[in-house]
């Protein structure tokens, strides 16, 4: 595939800070990555509640090779660990999702969420400061008014660029269960936050009120067999959103129909293949991520072994199904035992909706070209990627003779999983989170 023939890896690892005595690197585990709508900024959230924002270097004639590199722009602590006194349980500060708002002025806005609380952050630059106050000295001390003999007008003087992040809104106390996703509406005024059983609609300006639009909590919790795993607004239709469930179904809802969108407009589910049925069938059918295509015509879902592309007009089966790591099908029992079967992989579209990408184990990630039907497996690891080197496609050998460059299923490292990836909205630049390392790859076609 010509498109992916060359990748220039850029490696970044956030400084490890000791936040807890037991495991000093666990707080650095990246839990979400997201490009903003122009691709100029890339945000990452980690388990320690921090958000690190990267900004793309501007093109420069003197250093042409540095174009497109992302450097740290801002770092701030978004969420702190909390303690729920009522339940005697900790609320993790881990950032589950970050979503950018489209830029409307000089400042940048993003929503970040942990299990319980969504926050709106404003990231703004300050490169001037006023100097020449009448009542204050340059170092800030107050002057005695009686000593002032003349008045002057303060003047804005340039200063070193400072990027500051301030929390503008805090949307809290609306979720009993853990928030798994947030999605900004195309109207840019509202957003939804989704937990295991409910979807809530918020106005970005109003923090003390939210509307519950989906509630699948049964009257009796004993009857609970299905939870919501993800939800997203349609990219163009501000009244449409979709949510996925742990049983492998997706529901499309129209908010105009009723205040409570418990009745779906469309219901997407593929009937189960009886020949592959096992005790794990339901678990591996649980959808971990749902994403609308940029053009709004398709939906992509990720379950444990596959990625599926659905046409919004066809509910009974997906348009395309891609096997991510089907060689794991024979290992489901062990993966159940070590809990890997519950890993929630994300999936992502490229800007033109022609390629989809998702992660796997052993720091592998996969890309599928929908047009040519070709796919590639790449690895995000420092050992295999030197800066500016081309990424070599990887292959997992499923049985029989293993060729030289192949890796056998049994040698896969299941602790190295790529759950979070994001694709630049216009260009072939991808960001891949491998535990506590962030890899940014780009395609240089020349």
């Amino acid at each position: 595939m010509k498109c992916f023939s060359r990748y220039l890896p850029y490696l970044f690892r956030p400084p490890s800070t000791i936040l807890s005595s037991t495991c000093h690197t666990e707080a650095d585990i990246i839990s979400t990555v997201e490009f903003n709508s122009t691709g100029e900024l890339l945000a990452t959230g980690d388990k320690g509640g921090r958000v690190v924002v990267f900004q793309r270097e501007q093109e420069s004639k003197t250093q042409p090779h540095r174009r497109g590199e992302y450097n740290v722009y801002s770092t701030f602590q978004s969420h702190e660990p909390e303690f729920d006194y009522l339940k005697s349980l900790e609320i993790e500060e881990k950032i589950n999702k970050i979503k950018w708002l489209p830029q409307q002025n000089a400042a940048y806005f993003l929503l970040s969420t942990n299990d319980k609380t969504v926050k709106l952050w404003k990231i703004s630059e300050r490169d001037k400061r006023p100097e020449g106050y009448n009542l204050k000295d340059e170092d800030g001390r107050f002057r005695d008014p009686s000593t002032i003999t003349s008045l002057r007008v303060p003047v804005l003087q340039p200063m070193d660029l400072m990027v500051e992040a301030t929390a503008r809104r805090v949307f809290s106390n609306a979720h009993t269960y853990h928030i798994n996703s947030i999605s900004v509406n195309s109207d840019l005024q509202t957003f939804i936050s989704t937990d295991d059983l409910r979807v809530n609609l918020w106005n970005l300006e109003i923090t003390d009120r939210s509307f519950n639009i989906v509630d699948i909590k049964p009257a009796n919790m004993e009857e609970l067999t299905e939870v919501i795993t993800s939800a997203e607004f349609h990219p163009q239709q501000c009244h449409t959103f979709a949510y996925s469930s742990s049983k492998g179904s997706i529901r499309l809802c129209d908010m105009r129909q009723a205040a409570l969108c418990d009745k779906h407009c469309k219901y997407f589910e593929e009937p189960e293949d009886p020949s592959t049925r096992s005790f794990f069938s339901e678990i591996i059918s649980s959808i971990s991520d749902v994403k609308f295509s940029h053009n709004g015509r398709y939906l992509m879902t990720r379950d444990y072994l596959t990625v599926k592309v659905w046409d919004l007009q066809m509910e009974n089966k997906p348009l395309e199904t891609y096997q991510v790591h089907d060689y794991l099908r024979g290992k489901l029992c062990s993966l159940y035992e070590n809990d890997c079967i519950f890993d929630k992989f994300e999936c992502v579209w490229n800007g033109s909706d022609s390629v989809i990408m998702t992660g796997s184990y052993n720091n592998f990630f996969r890309m599928f070209d929908r047009n040519t039907k070709r796919d590639v497996t790449l690895e995000a690891s420092r050992e295999n990627s030197k800066p500016r080197a081309i990424l070599k496609p990887r292959k997992v050998c499923v049985g029989g003779k293993r060729r030289k460059d192949e890796i056998s299923v049994d040698s896969l490292d299941f602790s190295k999983k790529i759950l979070h990836t994001t694709w630049h909205p216009h260009e072939n630049i991808i960001a891949v989170a491998a535990t506590n390392n962030l890899y940014i790859f780009q395609d240089k076609v020349n």
Binding site: A219, N220, E223, S278
Partner: protein
Amino acid sequence: MFPKGTKRKFSDSGEEPVCSGDQGPSASPAAARTLSSSYSLQRQSLLDMSLIKLQLCHMLVEPNLCRSVLIANTVRQIQEEMTQDGTWQIMTQALAAAQCPADRLVATEVLCRQTDAAAQAGQSPKPFPVSGLEEGYHSEEVVMDGDVEAEVTMSSLSPVSPQLSSASYLPGPFGMAPCWEEEEEDGDCEEDEEEDSEESVSEEEESEPDHLRADSRTGEQVFGTFEIKHPAPPPDPALEELFSDVDPSYYDLDTVLTGMQSTPKMGPYDLLESLSSHAPTALSSSSSCRSDLNELDHIMEIIVGS
């Protein structure tokens, strides 16, 4: 010991674990199926594993509801299949015959947990509705075999000596801890094969004099509780392996925190006392004790807000 019938497809393939998905089409009538011992062993170990998973939740953070739901659905699926195969019945009967509650490993499938004092006093074969909660409760129809004691014991589980009490979840006031219904009454289990015999076996727990246990039951719904009273005579080596790296003191912490959850009046020192009294054979090593105390200190710090 197992009901007769035709062989299940792929069930005798020794290499591949049956539970990994190589099962034949599930359309064959229940009566015509034979369970090979390896398949049923695999299934049993899967069931045990699932129940353990439900039990061992993360103490300090709320358990992941999605994961719990998926595991519970798996357990339900296994139970249904075992019920259809008749294995469930056999297991129940076999273990009921073994009497002597003090010497048994009791794993109780929970539909509705009863918290009546009367029920705790002894074993009665009737199912009990769950104690009233904010959520209301669901009194369910149960088909019980007449003289079968309402208990299911997992004899194949290798016991860990400390007692495990209740709580697979730390419950919340909003009924966060789900109580799973074993089978839907209206038969809407998708996993069901043609069989539509809805046999729900409602279990009750062994009575336990411990006040912690009683307290932790109130206001809480639990699925799959293990009560490990005393070591059962023949430990299963395969399952012992499963438990070999499980730290016994971890279970005590579970107890302790459950107690803390439901009886907030207890201070940390009360908990330490109950910890030591609750598990007679545990805490053999001082290091595990120390780690528990560290955990408690950590928790207390959080509560105190330091």
